[in-house]
Subunit: 252 residues, 2 copies
């Protein structure tokens, strides 16, 4: 049984607690949060604490806390030479204090408080300063059914940045589409099968090969009509920039 302590109580921490608590090969021996109220309701399932000096012995300490808090919290840990990992996509491996064995356990997925997460759909990017710490991180990923990927810091940070494009920015395009359809009283829901197919298509085709549409064809007539339809300046700017980007990609 691998013993872990979870520190933090945000979305990632809460989903991880749930998943590890349900696992058969990992035991969450303690849950720390600076505000005990947030995690107090779990005290029948796990030892909860808001006192760093009361942290108990474990194989791995998971800092599922905000990027800015990693350095100071890891500095305050009352022990040395333990495997301490953060869960951030963008923070350096070295954000963890140097008196610990440093590592990263970054789940690359979007977490909402309400929605249930199946960790089999959550790739975990793992990294450790000491090579001998990798196997236990792999075991942690496997314990919750996740695929793991050994990446270095540059790769992890590239993935984190790329995730902003495919998640936050894509979602904003959905939002713009919602505004466009609503402005004419059309149902946004009619677009949902297309949204799904766009995501599914790249399972078998690279994004490069999956592209279609007026920008790819450099169909000036349609592009001009679309720009005329767009009343919102902001939407127009997005249309222009992404049309140019597609034309550039395909040398149009």
């Amino acid at each position: 049984m691998i013993k872990i302590v979870i520190l933090g109580a945000g979305n990632v921490a809460s989903h991880m607690f749930k998943a590890f608590h349900a696992s058969k090969t990992v035991s969450v021996v303690q849950w720390y949060n600076r505000n005990l109220k947030t995690i107090d309701k779990h005290k029948n399932k796990v030892d909860v604490t808001d006192d760093l000096s009361a942290l108990i012995d474990a194989d791995v300490y998971i800092l599922a806390i905000s990027d800015d808090a990693i350095e100071s919290l890891s500095e305050q840990l009352p022990f040395e030479n333990k495997l301490v990992v953060h869960t951030s996509g963008s923070s350096s491996l070295y954000a963890v204090d140097k008196k610990q064995n440093r590592g990263v356990f970054y789940p690359l997925q979007t977490f909402s408080k309400s929605a249930n997460i199946d960790f089999k759909d959550v790739p975990i990017c793992i990294e450790s300063l000491k090579k001998e710490d990798l196997p236990i991180l792999k075991q942690l990923a496997e314990a919750i059914g996740s695929k793991f990927h050994k990446v270095n810091s540059d790769q992890r940070q590239a993935l984190h940045l790329a995730a902003v494009f495919v998640n936050n920015f894509t979602n904003q395009l959905y939002r713009v589409a919602h505004e466009i359809t609503e402005s004419q009283g059309a149902e946004f829901d009619i677009l949902k099968p297309l949204i799904k197919e766009t995501a599914n298509k790249i399972e078998t085709l690279s994004p490069y090969l999956a592209q279609t549409g007026p920008a790819l064809r450099n169909d000036k007539k349609t592009i001009k009509r679309h720009l005329k339809q767009l009343e919102n300046k902001h939407h127009k700017a997005i249309y222009n920039l992404l049309t140019e980007s597609i034309k550039k990609t395909y040398g149009r």
Copy 2:
């Protein structure tokens, strides 16, 4: 049995032929294309022709041809007062020649030549000048398992424009993400579960409520780090514009 003639031989025409040919309530009585070679291989299943004057009698004529060809082809049809529909998202209902009963049968989906299409995932936007022509268009949609949506021209054109955002532009964001990950030797595939979840999330949440990430939080530190990571000017411009767009949406 509803009798239809399909005109054209592109992706939409080919997928529609296949779907209608398999249906039990619609009979494709003829397939026209100006170049007979493209459709000749189907002549054991359907009467094929490249001669407009040889078009036979049917209940509906489906012009699954490029936008620019709708006017001239419909003008050349050797009959009058028949239900003639085009399949374009952006062309006017009035692109069909006025001596016919005009209509639209617009499948809102991305079609590739190779990929199989299940029409239950293809919403059909229908429109007709004469109200009495709507029921037969509904029956056509139902015959291939599609949901139909009665929309007016403004709504259809808004959907077509919105489709460019959720399909072509989203796919271009996938492409940029691919370039970013590749530049660091990270696997693009690690992003695929996130891409799917981003699309799935809006089944239950509006795009407005589904948003997360540094732009939403106005997390200046992360935004600054991301911009520093982006070496490609073009990617930087997209990052800036969509970050601004998100901030604007949420009043940040």
